[in-house]
């Protein structure tokens, strides 16, 4: 981006980022097997205070109990995964880094399938999954800690830890009852936003909100992650602490996302890259853009997943089918980008 950002551009940018997910959500509240018109959606939302009086009951329930929690979940997870992916790419100065680079997805999946095997309730499963996701990253960091901790060592340790946990996931599948547990494990692993409830949303939202707010506040300082080691050190900021904080936030956000809806691939890779291609490498713009675009992207893809065919399509399949061509289109048009 060579052009100086004018005040008008900035206003449009901020307004656009706020309006985009709101509009997407409003439209997607209408779409589904049972169509709700925009005025109905608006009046349902307005009628929340008096418990839905004066609004068609079916529309009210569809909006409030079925679609809204699911769309909120989509927004939160999309935003969290995009931020985490963005951060890991900057942290490792590697365009191939994803939210899963440090093995968090493997750990969280293992926690979840173990909970299914042991027959835990949904809420307990969410907590166990989150915990195992964090444990996996902790193990990665401990494994990488040595005489010389380079970013490459951490990435390699993360890949090892990821495959270790996916082996454990396979082990759990092997042990699972083939009639009931195995299908539900397999389905969970494909990722779905179907299980969204306000309770699970609230539990999952806490780590994500805390992480994303911290990252948003750090947005200028995160630019230091892309500098060379000695430039970063001589900037006078505590770069090690910054990296650790970034890893913590990205891990918490990812683990919490996966604990709510399983592994949703691609969002954390594609959305940050799209943002970089459009906005350059300044995290002051990238963090808000990743939140907004990541959330919007998942809202749209999930709506498509649940309404395109009679049976719901697993969302990971769609994120890739929609995301990959769009990404390639953008890359060819913009001529790629450099980290």
């Amino acid at each position: 981006m060579n052009t100086k950002r004018s005040p008008l551009w900035k206003t449009a940018y901020i307004l656009g980022l706020i309006l985009l997910p709101v509009i997407a959500m409003l439209i997607c509240l209408c779409i589904g097997r049972y169509f709700v018109s925009v005025p109905q959606v608006l009046s349902s939302i307005a009628a929340r205070a008096n418990g839905g009086e004066g609004v068609e009951r079916l529309a009210y329930i569809t909006v409030w109990n079925v679609r809204l929690p699911r769309l909120l979940l989509a927004f939160i997870v999309g935003a969290a995964l995009s931020c985490a992916g963005l951060l890991f790419q900057s942290l490792f100065q590697n365009p191939l880094a994803t939210p899963d680079t440090l093995g968090v997805a493997g750990g969280a999946s293992f926690g979840a399938v173990l909970s299914i095997l042991l027959g835990f309730s949904m809420i307990i499963m969410q907590l166990v999954s989150f915990t195992f996701g964090c444990v996996a990253v902790l193990l990665t960091m401990l494994a990488a800690k040595g005489k010389t901790t380079s970013m490459n060592t951490i990435v390699l340790s993360g890949i090892m830890m990821g495959s270790l946990f996916s082996a454990l996931v396979s082990l759990v599948k092997f042990c699972a009852d083939q009639e009931q547990q195995l299908p539900s494990i397999t389905y969970w692993l494909m990722g779905s936003l179907q299980s969204a409830t306000y309770t699970s949303l609230l539990i999952g939202l806490i780590p994500i909100a805390v992480s994303v707010v911290i990252l948003f506040l750090l947005r200028w300082r995160l630019n230091l992650l892309l500098l060379s080691e000695e430039e970063a050190v001589s900037s006078g900021s505590n770069i090690k602490a910054l990296r650790l904080l970034a890893i913590l936030c990205a891990t918490a956000a990812t683990a919490s996302s996966i604990s709510m809806c399983g592994q949703i691939g691609w969002v954390g890779l594609i959305v940050p890259h799209m943002c970089r291609m459009m906005l350059g490498n300044d995290h002051r713009y990238l963090i808000p853009a990743s939140i907004s675009l990541g959330g919007t992207f998942l809202i749209l893809v999930d709506t498509l997943a649940r309404s395109a065919t009679a049976a719901e399509i697993p969302i990971s399949i769609l994120t890739a089918i929609i995301g990959a061509p769009f990404f390639l289109f953008l890359m060819r048009k913009k001529g790629g980008w450099s980290l």
Binding site: W220, L226, L227, S228, E231, G236, D282
Partner: protein, 360 residues
Amino acid sequence: MILKVEHASFEYKRGKPLFSDVSMEIQSGEIVSILGPNGAGKTTLLRAIMGILSWKEGKSTLDGENIRDITPGKLWSKISYVPQSHGLSGSYTVLDSVLFGMTTQIGVFSTPNQEQIKKAESILERLQLSHLRDRKCNELSGGELQMTLIARAMASDPGIIILDEPESNLDFKNQIIVLDTLSQLSAEGVGVLFNTHYPEHALRRAHKSLLLSHGSVIMGPTKEIITEKNIADAFGVKAIVGQFETESNQIENVIPLALLDKDAESVEVTNENGSENEDALASISIICREFEESGKINQILHEFPDILFGRMGMPHRKRNVYLITVNLDGPKSRIEELAHRLSLLKDVSIKVTYAKEEQR
């Protein structure tokens, strides 16, 4: 501000010191150069001096305080580092890069405010980089990038700036731009420590120099360090150190001639001015284009009371110049050192005239 290294040694591999017993110091307003052959560890030395690498023995101190005990925020607001420019991430704009230099002044959870942006812009203006403000660093030429890095280093108003080969890979013009900037910074009271591959740059700009050679380190006034013998010892190259005379000045120069025979037991370099320690009679004529500089000239002259036996100064108000003649009697090396110190001043022309040797 004074940055000191006391009896320090450094090693990458246990028992194989890269250099040992390094002592050096740099003060505000001083330019110190570090010279040495490729692989001698010039960059390593800089990193160790700043504390990015740890000394095996000894320590670096800033105003008497061990660098290790100073918090990073405080340390890096007092000294700035300009790494070698190749291989740096270039995806930020020039203005953003300069703002990175102010990291210690910008709160962890804040973004740069208008005042800080204005300051960054004024630094760019000062270094005549304003037109590059919104260009990405990876679209700049080598010279522009180097100047951007210097601008970034200046952003925190440091007392000392440390640069790693700032004028390598640059053409003549850009070398002069960079070196002039360093001289300017020193004139404003900033200490400048830089690595260089060019002994003549050290001679023309640095008050003191440090030469790395086979693990040992010598430091002193540049004129005493950059001699034909020392260059032969350190680089294994026969070179001549001499002066060009121009209409207004005499310019120091080093010309490398040939490789020395590696097997030769000791290096023998014929030194034309072999009489360095003999007494000589000389006068230096100084023409100073700015009245302000005359204060600095006086300051330097006061450091040489042992050889100075007469001086005469006269302002020529019509043209705003100051003409000074000093008469000297003493060791030739002292006279040359004084001449060198004077030659480093901006807008000052000097010439040394030696008396003919007495007939014996």
